[in-house]
Symmetry: C2
Subunit: 212 residues, 2 copies
Amino acid sequence: MPPHSSNPDEIIPDIVIGRLPIYLRALMRLSQEGREVTSSHELGRILGISSAQIRKDLSHFGGFGKQGTGYQIAYLEDKLRQVLQVNREWEIALVGAGDLGQAVANYRGFADRGFHIACVFDSNPQKIGKQSGKFVIQPMSELKETIISKGIQIAMIAVPAEYAQEVANQLVDAGIRAILNYAPISINVPDGVHVQYIDPVAHLQRMTYYLK
Amino acid sequence: MPPHSSNPDEIIPDIVIGRLPIYLRALMRLSQEGREVTSSHELGRILGISSAQIRKDLSHFGGFGKQGTGYQIAYLEDKLRQVLQVNREWEIALVGAGDLGQAVANYRGFADRGFHIACVFDSNPQKIGKQSGKFVIQPMSELKETIISKGIQIAMIAVPAEYAQEVANQLVDAGIRAILNYAPISINVPDGVHVQYIDPVAHLQRMTYYLK
DNA sequence: TAGATTGTTAATCGATTAACAATC
DNA sequence: TAGATTGTTAATCGATTAACAATC
């Protein structure tokens, strides 16, 4: 095997994948500041991570740096986007058009970073057909067909906790393979379907432990 | 040392602390369903975690279960609240009253789970004095005095990324000890100040890796 | 060249899991 | 009692760090 080439059969630890978006975020900031080159040491200082860990993480995917110099920011950014498959746009289905769902639908951070909300569903007949931002709220009965016909693979759940599992089931049935769950509850999905959670209260509770 | 008593000098791994809010969330769901007793096996099944890990995590804080029976849900819930110090209410300062800040301020999940937003700050003179939900938006110049006089220890940042570090500095200067950062950027704070991040796009990017 | 930094190996550290005596 | 489940120990597994040859 030539040096600096990654082994395509290697299974990368998920914890490494989880750090790549953080690296990408830091690189975006640096390039926005007009910087062109950085090093594992500088990234480590910015992120509070050891430089060895950053080098080791990146080495899973190939050699992106130069000895003595460091990393070209634009180049590394591009490589990380390729690895994460975020060098394209993704469409997302959103379920739930209550206060939380509306806030999620209106959050500009998604579109700014390549994630477009393509459809919004709600079970409340009062809401169906109403405009939510740029979207017309669709009934749950149209969920599967819409997701399949648009080829959507990612969904966000923003319904009350007690409905989250049932919604997840319907999403999985519609072929969704990645779910971002804003409902404060754990959901069960089959192997091969990925779930991430947004629960700000859980983060707060993790910190209050230390506030003696 | 008697059995089932935790060592108060033991330093608990932060990764264990991070799982306690997840356990608490699951227990709340079970008690809401009217259940009274559970086991490490059941919790493990619900959460996708091994039962051994749950027992080991809980054992850091004492023996909360009964052999042969399992855990009294209400009792364990109460104990976890004590450990996390969420058996009380907490006041929070929010910085940023743009779209994101307003959505955060209006999210009912905080108050429902014991976190009350006590004040909202923004640097935009157009916004100061305006009502945002139940709050009057205050200028940044009042941040330090308000936080100190109200004895607030927790803050949330909901400003654009480029201002997040400066806001964090001001919060630390005002004595804040825990920060929940909604800006998609890493911030640096002194030792003893805790930071957690809410970046839904980072979660999405972590999942797109697997969508081959 | 001298200085700096990478990519990688081996050592260390810490977290998870398996197993089981204790006991409800 | 028999069956079930805890709390804990020891073994395993995996992740992080230290160190350094390679080299820009």
